[in-house]
Symmetry: none
DNA sequence: TATGAATGAGACTTCATTCAT
DNA sequence: AATGAATGAAGTCTCATTCAT
């Protein structure tokens, strides 16, 4: 309870995990949480995997939940930068396809599947964590993509009223035939995953452009 | 081997939960599993909620996993019959909208959200259960919807090459803006949920028809 | 508690197990107790093996301990009549050998080993039962054998001061190299068991006669 | 795999019970196992008697069986060193009597009786443990004694063909009138035990020498 | 007489957490 | 800062026993 007898990292806002030990712990904990889920993971196993003592875990994190939050935050951060750089100069169709394929492949990664399972799995117990994850993960992606669409609308290449919705639906068309079954544990081979990605994205692009391409009809 | 020693339900194939106690247990267990997840739920709490003794739980179900499976099966069954009766004589647009709205509202139900969380949450531990759930739930829905589309294609009202994919993508467009955030714990008011359903389905129908309505292309 | 509402067999002294059900139960219970020990046996398994309901067990026996006692009594009785008919007219050496071999083979029977294990295993909890079993089993055998020796002493064929002790020690020499290891779980093939019986008994007879045969020494 | 997470004793090969807690646990566990048998003993009672928490039990021993094994091993070790130092220079008769009395008194000790009961009681469940106990306990004693006899045979003091068998039978003659009834729970006063030991050993020595003393026969 | 549904105490074991060093 | 020994509450599951029918 007193702040003078405890180790520093817990008390201060040392978010920028400088310490080597902290890194070790986060790496080990992530690996265990991702493979066993929150409840299935035990602090003992995390300590073993991270190669620190159980006591040390509690020097850096107040309890299991906070350790979990820190892991998820880290995952989220690492997810962000990928996928999301749009090239405005490229043809829309190419860019849609590139984004769609990147997204489809991304959500099919075992690590991503596990992260989603883990977070949704305790969303009831820790809803703010889940909401934050959604907002900064899928939500953020959708907003960045929507902004790209906005620019294309402004450029007269697309005709979309609700770009936020269009972005979301395009993303869903690209990924759902992969993400959903994988989340439920359906076993898909790498080949099968690639096939599904290809088919979903191709059709999604076609559908998207059939709907939103400016003068999509007057091209005839 | 003999049927005379233990309680009947475990020994015989009493799947149709006739017994009152069995119903009680399933009701209590569903409630606890849905709110705490598989690992978070304890047999003790289930017994307390179901108002039976812990021992009785094991008279009716061999272990926690089998009790969980029974709960999920029940949920799944109740999910099936809804949503899925297509009226071939109605206009396609109306029918798409009806199906889309039913689906969107359905996946937004707290009970459904919780069931999905629970099942995906232990898909790593029990992948066959998850896969079965997917196949008989979302998978089944998609197949029934695809069959409807097939009939419409045959009737010359729609022009779709891959109806299975089209079905899936339509369904995803209808539900994802609801299902996904809700799964992650984002809090949406009833009003907000209805608004999103309306917007998603409306746009999904429009997109779908823009892409697949016969004469969509041959008007050129 | 009241005697009018309970079933008869428990209340009265119906020891002569007339009832078919009682026999069934004893047979099943013996088999389970012998293979699992007192604590390892469960009333549920006994009921299953005996093909009666668990409730019926408690109609015939007040509780697990009494059922066990009844089983042991039965075993004991069946053990008695074997082995123990001595033929006074036969040569002593032949008769010692016959008795010794019968005893050695008897104690090597799996059923006997198990009975001994079971009874000694709970002798701490139920010492009277164990003592009774000893007295009516090994004790009784030793007394009958000692009586035979008494007759031979009276007939002038043997010279023994303490026939009770001589009887006991002869019996021990015959059986210990079999009984003891088997009790501890040492695995002996049928062939090995027979070899040991043969060697032990042969040597025991020789030792016994070298010590106790009248004129054993004055033959010189 | 790493040694830093769990308590040391379980991970490392700390067989030599250095730790105080380990000693405490073994003492408590021995006492409970010896008085209740393996199945009758509960980890809760062991923890209470040992004055440690239940959790601590599992820090030092992986499970109940391993704790039991450790107790038995300890007992066995303590058994070995006693009784078994033979003085080749002493007269055979004196040495036989000394060994016989030591053995008889040893097997009459309550602790020894209980250890034997406990081990034979679960020999069905854990036969290797029982066999090991037999081999290192009674078996070892018999072998050491037989080696002594071998030396006496070599010295021309005894004439024995099968010293292993002779050793076993001598030991049995000394102890069986004590060990067997005590195992079954027959209650013998200290005085009675001493009387039996005296009588059994005296007679055993006499019998042994009558049979095996060199010149026993050639005196004729 | 015979049953089988129901119970609740208690079994073994795990694990998040604390604390002295 | 780091450890590891120690804890006790809580987990799943078993089982002897009771009771209404």
């Amino acid at each position: 309870m007193s702040s003078s007898t405890q180790a520093r990292p817990v008390e201060e806002g040392w978010d920028g995990g400088e310490s080597l030990k902290r890194r070790q712990i986060l790496a080990g904990a992530s690996s265990v949480f991702m493979s066993k889920g929150f409840n299935g993971a035990s602090m003992g196993e995390i300590a073993r995997v991270a190669e620190v003592s159980k006591g040390t875990l509690y020097v850096y994190f107040q309890n299991k939940e906070q350790l979990f939050e820190a892991c998820i935050d880290e995952k989220r951060r690492s997810f962000l930068a990928r996928v999301l750089d749009f090239h405005d100069e490229a043809p829309v169709e190419d860019e849609l396809r590139r984004f769609g394929m990147a997204l489809a492949r991304f959500v099919a990664e075992p690590e991503v599947i596990m992260a989603i399972r883990t977070v949704t799995g305790i969303a009831e117990q820790m809803p703010e964590l889940g909401a934050r994850f959604y907002d900064n993960g899928p939500g953020h992606s959708a907003r960045v993509f929507a902004a790209y669409l906005d620019r294309k609308v402004a450029a007269g290449e697309l005709a979309i009223q609700n770009t936020a919705l269009a972005a979301l639906q395009f993303a869903d068309m690209c990924q759902s035939n992969l993400s959903r079954p994988l989340l439920f544990g359906v076993n898909l081979s790498a080949h099968e995953r690639e096939l599904r990605a290809e088919a979903s994205v191709t059709q999604a692009v076609q559908t998207f452009l059939a709907t939103y391409r400016h003068r999509g009809a007057d091209a005839c």
